[in-house]
């Protein structure tokens, strides 16, 4: 019979129109093409021209249509009518909502601005929200970085003037060995996948260091299933091997790092351990040409890595000496760390060898001439094709700051930062810690704060302390407890506010942070704190204002809800003043714009802040005549200037001759210009300026031109972080700002200016709770939001606890059994599954899949709420009591980073259950429940 087939329309119309904006389902911020049919969103795909994703899109991004139309969307401002946590609300008008907010906030601002704590979670407008908080005058502002990965950010910035996060990237086009530490997904989601794909296509080697072999680690050529919390030991053993073999880039160390800088070595000196500087404060090095000290940056200086120097009776030794002393010690030999890290000495050596081989034997040159900051001209750029990336796996431990520092030291001794084939910064980085602001905390009634809240301390004098030595901030950031807490400590806000330590607050104002659930350590405890009442029956935290777009768990615990739009319904800017979307080769920023108008009584939160700011008479938000200055966020984006000529968006500013990039006056049609260009702006770094950026004058000049900074800022990488030494000196009794006695020893021990490793497991009672319990980000879900998405929730509707075969066997468990998991803080009962590609002492689950019954417009019997669970019930914001009556935070003692991954547990088989435990009461849904069946088609 002849073959017959129907005739198909092979060229159906794809859409009426494509609107190009920016995805919001994670901080990667990919460009998207939103295909519209009949005014509705029909299909979302990646924007090929966009610098971040170049057309690709992850599962969350592609499911944006389900996010945008989710039944969990809030519909109107809400005023709480039932008790906190009940979920009982009444819908109110915006006028009423803003009146209430103004009524609560104006007296605070008048009488004591610190009584407002304004904290933001998944905020992509931090430069704006912080500006608002600064103008309000409260010292209590931060975003979520403190519980997220401040160790990584701070270690990077203090060490190299830039960090991993999304602030830098491997040179994917040239690297031949890529080593990845503790990453499941990260913020740079799509670029990392694209990069891994690229180097795998070339057949280059990927080494994954992670207790769990999934995702990126599954495709890694070599998997190092390290014992959690011991990466520092492993990395320092690699440093040991490389230094011992002389496989370090001496030229690079001498020219671009503080390895040759001279350290005061007189134990009795009040400056012991500080760097020798000239009267202008410039670090001194010994110039090999003269044998004499000279400021590091002078023309012709050839810094000596080996020479010591005596000045005023004090011996000064180069940092290189201190490093040799520390890292060549047998304590750091592979044999000494093999047991604790769970990596054999032979394997450590093999990896060190491979690093050495690729960095030095496979070195190559690019024909880019460049001139360094000493004026020396180079005809080529040397490439060392070894690159690293790391994230929360090493940073979310209480020893994370030092571990991240150790990794940077490893990168630097290999000479592989900002060189071809290595790790490269994205503008506005590199930028040394000293070029960042310092923290500010001086509040005055009815006035703005004395400066930006967050910053990089250089020593005890920069701490945010009140005159009586107590914490100026509610989260105790920048105190002796955690001096370098550059991102604040969001995870301590509710706990401290509830305890009245350091003081009580009046209003907690939060944006986009699900603190009553997955973003809190100690979820149950936080819920209790939010609902706790004092003797007079009033809530201990009197008022809570919250902005969310969806019916999250946190909504139920607030008194006033300011409902946000979805990401397709509002203006936004992804600004160079904030967390930018740049590439190593280009500066870039982007916008969101309302590709559809909201069909509910909701408003973009930033626009609401413009309104509220004017109602409160905040200086930055009213005109001289006292009127509202910015009609909405779009108006702010276009017209706000941070410094003259520098605004939220760098593209299409008004220059002397027409439109210009970087510096320029506001341009009324700037947003239209962005829309025309696909929603983003890119400015490429000229060839020859795009490597060696911290020292490359062509880059420095380009950056000044773009307005990234006001004058060239070349600097040295800090293998030795002097500000840390200043804190140690204080702990040793020097200086007039002194730590409390109970912290002296810890500061001395942990704040070593050269990376060290210490073991946080003792504080978490590892003798009784020997197993580490971890979470990982599922690539297809974003924290708590994914579950309201009908497509995504089918991928991850519940989360088993994965156990290695030995722990399954030891506990008599088989797949589908239930187990009780106990930590020093609490207990959960959950379903288990076996996984062989897992460190034998580690269990794990997917993060934030478990949901509270009644939240997210889901059925109360949704698997997320019955089988799903959170490890957060087992994690506490405080360490187990030490018997000294003190509240020790479960955080890195240097930065305050929440130590999520120090969680230690015990496991025992449990009887079969029909629900994970703890079972919590349902909350009433303010939006009802989603429909049963979906057959989604916009066209036709």
């Amino acid at each position: 019979m002849p073959h017959k087939q129907p005739t198909l329309n092979l060229s159906p119309k794809v859409s009426d129109e494509v609107r190009k904006t920016t995805c919001y389902m994670c901080a990667c911020r990919c460009g998207i093409n939103v295909h519209m049919k009949g005014g509705k969103v029909a299909y979302i795909e990646g924007n090929r021209d966009h610098p971040v994703n170049k057309g690709v899109l992850c599962a969350k991004g592609s499911a944006g249509i389900m996010q945008h139309n989710a039944p969990a969307r809030l519909r109107a401002p809400l005023k709480r009518v039932g008790p906190r946590g009940s979920g009982e609300f009444e819908e109110i008008s915006w006028d009423e909502a803003l009146d209430i907010a103004t009524g609560w906030l104006a007296p605070i601002r008048r009488d004591n601005p610190e009584k407002l704590a304004f904290f933001t979670g998944r905020d992509q407008s931090q430069s704006f929200t912080s500006f608002w908080a600064q103008n309000f005058g409260t010292p209590n502002y931060a975003a979520h970085g403190g519980f997220c990965s401040v160790n990584m950010a701070a270690a990077g910035i203090y060490t190299m003037g830039g960090a991993f996060w999304e602030f830098g990237q491997p040179d994917w086009d040239h690297t031949k060995l890529f080593m990845l530490f503790g990453v499941a997904e990260d913020h740079d989601s799509n670029p990392i996948k694209m990069g891994i794909g690229k180097i795998k296509a070339r057949g280059a080697r990927v080494i994954g260091v992670n207790p769990i072999r999934t995702g990126y680690n599954a495709v890694a050529d070599d998997w190092v299933g390290i014992t959690p919390g011991t990466d520092g030991l492993f990395i320092m053993a690699l440093i040991h091997c490389l230094m011992k073999a002389g496989k370090i880039d001496l030229d690079y160390l001498a020219r671009f790092t503080n390895a040759p800088c001279l350290v005061n070595s007189d134990e009795k000196s009040p400056e012991y351990g500080l760097l020798l500087r000239d009267p202008d404060g410039k670090e001194l090095v010994i110039d090999r040409n003269t044998g004499k000290p000279a400021p590091f940056d002078q023309k012709g200086v050839r810094p000596d890595l080996a020479a010591t120097h005596r000045a005023a009776g004090v011996t000064h030794r180069p940092v290189m000496h201190l490093m040799a002393e520390r890292y060549l010690s047998d304590d750091h030999a592979p044999e000494a760390v093999a047991d604790r890290t769970g990596i054999s000495a032979a394997r450590i050596r093999a990896i060190a060898s491979e690093l050495a081989r690729v960095a030095f034997d496979e070195a190559f040159e690019l024909d880019h001439a460049w001139t360094d900051f000493r004026g020396e001209h180079h005809t080529k750029m040397t490439g060392r094709p070894v690159s690293f990336h790391a994230m929360r796996g090493i940073s979310a431990h209480a020893n994370g700051f030092q571990t991240c520092r150790a990794l940077h030291v490893l990168q630097i001794i290999l000479g592989t930062v900002e060189v071809p084939g290595g790790f490269r910064f994205k503008p506005p980085y590199p930028k040394p810690a000293t070029a960042h602001p310092k923290p500010h905390c001086q509040a005055t009634c009815n006035g703005p704060l004395d400066g930006p809240h967050l910053g990089f301390v250089q020593g005890p004098e920069d701490l945010a302390l009140k005159p009586d030595g107590t914490a100026a901030r509610i989260d105790k950031a920048f105190t002796w407890d955690n001096p370098m807490s550059a991102h604040g400590l969001m995870h301590m806000v509710i706990s401290n506010a509830h305890a009245g330590d350091p003081y009580k607050i009046d209003t907690l104002f939060m944006y986009m942070a699900n603190m009553a659930w997955n973003s809190s350590m100690n979820t149950r405890g936080v819920i209790d704190m939010l609902t706790d009442t004092d003797e007079s029956g009033d809530y201990v935290i009197p008022r809570i204002i919250y902005s969310d777009a969806y019916s999250s768990e946190m909504v139920a615990y607030a008194d006033l809800i300011l409902p946000d739009t979805t990401y397709l319904e509002r203006h936004d800017c992804i600004s160079l003043l904030d967390r930018p979307i740049c590439e190593a080769d280009a500066a870039a920023d982007a916008i969101r714009w309302p590709v559809v108008e909201p069909d509910r009584d909701v408003r973009g939160f930033q626009s609401v802040l413009c309104d509220l700011g004017a109602r409160l008479d905040l200086p930055g938000f009213v005109t001289e005549a006292g009127d509202q200055k910015y009609a909405d966020y779009a108006d702010y984006i276009i017209n706000h200037e941070r410094r003259p000529g520098i605004g939220p968006l760098a593209g299409w500013r008004t220059g002397e001759q027409g439109l210009t990039a970087g510096r320029g006056a506001p341009n009324a049609s700037q947003i239209d210009n962005y829309i025309e260009n696909g929603g983003f702006f890119v400015e490429h770094i000229p060839k020859g300026a795009n490597y060696y950026k911290p020292w490359n004058m062509a880059y420095q000049d380009w950056a000044v031109g773009m307005g990234l900074f006001d004058k060239p800022l070349p600097y040295l990488f800090s293998l030795y972080v002097e500000p840390m030494r200043r804190f140690q000196l204080a702990a040793e009794g020097h200086g007039d700002r002194q730590p409390p006695d109970h912290l002296r020893e810890r500061i001395r021990r942990t704040m070593d200016p050269l990376p060290i490793w210490y073991d946080p497991s003792g504080d978490n009672r590892a003798e009784e709770y020997p197993i580490t319990a971890l979470t990982q980000r599922p690539m297809a879900m974003y924290h708590s939001w994914g579950s309201q998405n009908a497509w995504l929730r089918q991928l991850h509707g519940h989360n088993p606890l994965y156990l290695p075969p030995n722990l399954m066997r030891d506990n008599g468990l088989k797949d589908g059994d239930w187990a009780t998991v106990t930590s020093p803080h609490g207990e959960i009962t959950v379903p288990v599954l076996e996984m062989a590609a897992l460190n034998p002492n580690t269990v794990w689950t997917w993060n934030a899949i478990g949901k509270r019954k009644g939240a997210w417009a889901l059925d109360k019997d949704a698997p997320e709420a019955t089988k799903g669970f959170l490890l957060n019930h087992l994690i506490h914001e405080l360490l187990p009591p030490k018997g000294d009556g003190l509240r020790w935070a479960n955080s890195d003692p240097i930065t305050g980073q929440a130590a999520w991954f120090d969680l230690k547990v015990r496991i025992a088989k449990a009887a079969p259950q029909n629900q994970s435990k703890p079972v919590m009461k349902p909350i009433k849904s303010p939006v009802g429940q989603g429909p049963d069946n979906l057959a989604w088609k916009v066209g036709k």
């Binding site: 019979m1 089918q794 991928l795 991850h796 509707g797 519940h798 996984m835 062989a836 698997p863």
Partner: protein
Amino acid sequence: MHPAPSVIIFTTFSGLGFGLLAWLGLGFPDVTGWSAFAFFTIAYVCAVGGLMASAFHLGRPERALKAFTQWRTSWLSREAVTSVAALLVMGVYAIGTIFFDKALPLVGVIGAALSLLTVFTTSMIYAQLKTVPRWHTALTPVMFLALAIAGGALLAGEVTTAAVLLALAGVVVMATWLHGDGAFARSGTTLATATGLGSIGTPRAFEPPHTGTNYLLREFVFVVGRKHGTKLRIIAFTLAIALPVILLLVPFSHWLAAVAVLSHVAGVLVTRWLFFAQAEHVVGLYYGKR
């Protein structure tokens, strides 16, 4: 495979109905008038009822007629065509016997052949499937035919023949079970061949693609516990074969015959349930369910 009631009812009753039609077409029992009417009614109710039940299995029953078009390639289409042909031809034969007291032997033989062919085509729908090793054997059509013929004989009241044929069908059913239990393993299809990962080592299903269920899991991944399976087989065999044979061997009574028929039907329903429920589709491998 999911033991959908519609297919169980369909295969059981259409098998019996067409089995009875075949006997009737061959002149057993040689009846006319009202008693012919009674026999044909039973046969048609079973056959047509079974076919209609199968329509419940369709997502779009209103388009069922389209299923007649692909008889050149599709066993399901062939089944549709042969069943209708059998029903039509036997209809002519039935009209002859009921209304005109006249059996048309040639028509009857053709009708009987078509009836058995229908049972055969039904069985081939399953037997053709390489994806279900338990079914992919000549024993499947033999088993369907054996049960249809024996059941038909039973309904036709051919007592001795039925007893013998039931016993034979019993042997065939046993053989399918025994053969079927090792079929999946013998097929050589494993997770290693399914994924191609066998060259590295032993693969094991880790996370399923979705935490929830889906069409494939509902349709293809049905697991019967071994103990439970054995128990049901004993029940099935007793009801479908042993009890009717015993009842046929004791002196004939209409009551006993009726019990034998009911028992047989119940037994065949259970064998059919097992036929589906115990059939392992290779797709289960991808879900770690084999």
